[in-house]
Structures are given as structure tokens and as C-alpha cells.
């Protein structure tokens, strides 16, 4: 089917979702930096580095699998 060649790969959707989630979690981590939640090892500020990791993964997937114009 000719349309299949233009189907956006699933990895792009994965990248977009990870990027958005990463931003939300990263910002949440920054906002609670000086008053972390009462969880174990909260002093490690896991949302900041985990959110950062997700932003990086998401950006990489978006870059690698972004929709491209079909070749003529």
C-alpha cells in the first residue's frame, strides 16, 4: 500500500511522549528542589535527572524518526 511508506514510525510517537513527560517531570523536580517530597532518597532529586534523561531520549527519537518528505 503506497500510504504505508509514509506512515510515521512508532518511534516518533514514543519520542514525542517521552519528551513531553520528561519536561513535566523535570520542571516538577526543579519546583520541589528546595522542598522535596517526603519520600526516601528525596535528596537525590530523582525527578530532575530522570526527567532530563527522558527529555534526551525523547529528543533523540524525534530527531532520528521525524517524518521526512518521501523521495521522488
Amino acid at each position: 500500500m503506497s500510504e504505508e511508506r509514509h506512515m510515521i514510525p512508532v518511534w516518533f510517537f514514543v519520542g514525542v511522549l517521552l519528551f513531553i513527560y520528561g519536561i513535566l517531570i523535570f520542571i516538577s523536580g526543579l519546583l520541589e528542589w528546595s522542598h522535596p517530597p517526603d519520600t526516601v532518597l528525596a535528596n537525590l532529586h530523582a525527578p530532575v535527572w530522570w526527567g532530563g534523561l527522558m527529555i534526551a531520549m525523547g529528543a533523540l527519537f524525534i530527531h532520528l524518526f521525524r517524518p521526512r518528505k518521501p523521495s521522488q
Partner: protein, 569 residues
Amino acid sequence: MTHLAFVPAAATGKIILLRPVDLAIIVIYFVAVLGIGFYLKKFAKRGEDFFIAGRGMTSWVAGLAFISANLGSLELLGWAGAAYQYGILATHWYWIGAIPAILFLGIVMMPFYYISRTHSVPGYLNLRFGRPTSGLSAVTFAVMTILMSGVNMYAMAIVMKVVLGWNIHFSIWVSSLTVGVYVALGGLYSAIFNEVLQFFLIWLGALLIPILGLMETGGWSGMVARIHHNFPGDNFTHLWSDLGHFSGNPMGIHWTGIVFGLGAVLSMGYWTTDFLVVQRVLSAKDLRSAKMAPVIGAFFKMAVPFIVILPGLLALSVLPFHLVPQTAMQPGQHSYNEVLPLMLARYCGPGLLGLGITALVAGFMSGMAGNVSAFATVWTYDIYRLFVRKDASDSHYVSMGRWSTMIGLIISIGAAYAVMGFASIMDYVQALFAIFIAPLFGTVVLGMLWKRMTGKGAFWGLLAGTTASASMFLAVKFHPAALGIIALSSHAKMMAEDMYQALWSWLICVGVTVVISLVTQPRPPAELKGLVYGETEIPGEGHLPLLKRPIFWSCVCLAVFLVLQWIFW
């Protein structure tokens, strides 16, 4: 120490308190899956696209979907709870209970499934043996799958009620309608895309628990020391060394049950014939990808204990209270199945909690999507097309696929409400899989490897094996002492039942199949081309570079599996 996100169940009736950022993460997930479903609708117009995703998936997509279809949230929660209850022994269901079977599917059975161009497991049985065997398999699978979808739906609603305080009806209707819409729109494409999404969410949502947990305990040895301190006299961290006797381990099992019952039969039956997982591999774009997809899945399956079993072990070492069986729970206590949400609340604040809960919701929903898409395929192609309307147009069958998706979902919702009224239904529905899967494996694998096998042998063998399996289940249900006969030891406990039931029913199926096949007429070899060993030209891998050969990576996977058995002996 109190935890903001961890609320004692006795106080408010829920374990986790969600903040606005957590709710935003959950809502975004629902918007995303619906958006993907609407996007994929235009690609799912033909039957080949709607039911088999155009047979165009790469080995990575098919492989991740294959594993995600199995990695449901009920399993995650249940096995984390089992790890708390039984220790590292629960890992057997992820290692010997999966890896050899998955590799066997990829290397031995996929060539026959793929070359025959079948769309389903009952479809293969129809090509090989004809309609009676196919019909028996299709009807039982369709009924089991849609009931199982309902059971999962109910279980998810209960988990959301206990963990988050959500209304049960809200959980059931919102999640099921979302699943129904995106599967009815995009068919297997939607189901697979969302399974790949779920794969990433599960790992990113759950991985922080073992990472932070091991940091808290000071590594594996620190965790083991704490477990011994909290539970002196119990052994929770040896995989094989206590399986020499039924009474030598907390699960009450013997290594023969694990190796022959679980490893050789039960897991083989599930991983090689359950259409829910096999359908994902059938969607691969070529034979090499179809063989490679399960191998890729096997590597990730081997790693799953890190996010499922290890949290259960960590809970044994760090939780300041003991968990109890569901049936023995008193107000203020928590059951084994709550271990994963409890550990999530222990380490994860706002944002990360939302990610973890979204991962659980995604797991439930993709499980439902998998069941519903498999049901629609088997109903449309293996029951409706074969027995009701043979020569309709392709667009008619696609339309039937979309309608049967929604109708199947409504039946699932009905099953969920039935379970709500009669909880014991859940035990029977879950037992159905154990009853059918081992004999079905016997029928399919013999059919692929032995060309003398006849259609009559297949039908009566499958029926005999299934009847024997159901009889053993009912015998133990109504006379628990029967377990001692089935497992050949009075020290066997309930976990041993499934394994020995599977072993005996498989042997009975194979025995009856062989006897009847030898006294009935086989099909001419020319009619078996592409269906059975000896009559199928299977392309070799010799022309491929070593790193592109599925057999090479299978050997690597098997080697890693063996090393892990030795490390955790």
C-alpha cells in the same frame, strides 16, 4: 517516617495521592493513544492491514509488541507480590518459564507459521488439519480471550480503587471505551503502536524503584542481609538450590515441576500457541524479522525481573511492616499485590508517581487491546469467514472486524461486572488458559514436526488433553488431596498444580494423537507443503552476516540465560 504520597489505607482507603502534574501525565496518555488511533485509521482499510498490520512490522517493533502484549499490569502487580511472598523463585516464570519457549517459537515454529501465510493459530490448524480442530481451537480461544479481557478490566478497576481511590465504574468505562475506539479505528496497527509505547512507559515508570531501592539497601548484598534480618530462617534469594524437595522452599515445588511442567510444557504452550502474543510476530515484514522478533523479546523478557521481582525482594528488606495475603487482610494492612504501588509511593514524588501510574494504566489498557484485537481476528477469520459467510469482500470482513471489536469489548465489560458479582469467576477464567494451552501446544508442535499426523488424531488428541486438564483442575478444586496424586507427592503445594496438570495433559494429548493418527488416513504430502517439517522449504541463514542471523542471537540469549541460572543458583 511518613510519606506524602503514601497514605495508609486505613486512613483514606487509598495508597497514593496524585498531584496535578500526575493527573496531567495520565490525561496526556489517553489523548495520545486516541490520537494515534485516529491517525492510523487511514492505514487500516484492508483486512491484511486491520488484522495483521500489513505484515510490515520490523523485528524491533514486532519484538517489543510481542513482549508488551504479555507484560500486562495484572502480571506486574501479581508477580511483584509473588516475589514478596516466595522470593526469587518467582523469577522462574520469567526465565526457564519463558526464554527457552520464546527461542523455540522464533527458531523452530515461526517458519511454519510465517511461510503458511496464516493469520492466526486456529488458521494454521485449519490449513493443517481442517475445520473441526480449527473450530474447536477458535471457539475456545475466542471465549477465553474475551472473558480474560473482562477479568483484566475488573482487576484494573479494583487496583485503581485501592491505589488511587477511583470509582470502579469510571475506571471500567473510561479505559474500555478508549481501548475500543483506538482498536476499532486502527486495528492491529493501533494495538502494536500502543504496546510499544507501553513498553517504554513500563520501563521508565518502574525502573527507578530497583535503582533507588538498591541505593537505599547498599546493593544486592545489603538487601540480602536485611532480608535475613527481617525474616530469619527463610530463604528468599536462591533460584534452584532449594528445589530438591517440595517442602524445602516457600513455594512447595520440585525442580522437575519447574523444568518439565513449567519450562517444557506450560511455557511452551503459552509462548508458542497463545494467539495474543503470536499475532504480533505474524505481523513481521519478512521471515528473518519474524524469527528475530521473539529473540529480541527474549532479551527484554530476561530483564523484566529487574523491575518486577527485585521490587518485591526490596520490599522484604525495606518496608517497616509485613504484607499479608489478600484473604487475611485486616484494616490498616496491605496485601502482597500492593507491593509495587507501595514501593512506587516510597521512592517517587509528584511527576514520577504519575509516570508510574500511567505505566500501570497503559499495561492494563494494552492488555485489553491485545485481547480485543486477537478476538476480532479469530472471530472474523476463523469463525465467521470459515463457518458463516465464506466469500464476502475484504471490506466486509474489515467492517466485521471493527464491529466485533466493539461487541467484544461490550461482552468484556459484561464479564467484568459478572466478576464483580461473583469473584470466584476470576479463578475459573484464569484456569481456562492453563486447561487449554498445554494440549494445544501438543497439537500444534506435533502438527508442525510430524507429517504422519492426521486431522482425526489432532481433533481427538486436543479434546482428550483438554478434558484431562479440566478434570485434574476440578479434582483439585473439589478434593485438594488430589494434588498429591497429580504432583506425585503429598508435600506439593498449590503452585505445583499448574505445572503437573500441564505436563500430564500434554502427554495425554500427544499419546492420543499418535495412536489415532497411526490408525487413520494422513493427507497426501503435496497438501502439506509449507505446513510441516519435511514438506516445507525453510530458507537458511547461511547467506546472512553472523550478526544478522536469528540463530546466532538465540545462542547468545541462551548463554546469558544459563549464566543467570548459575549466578542466582
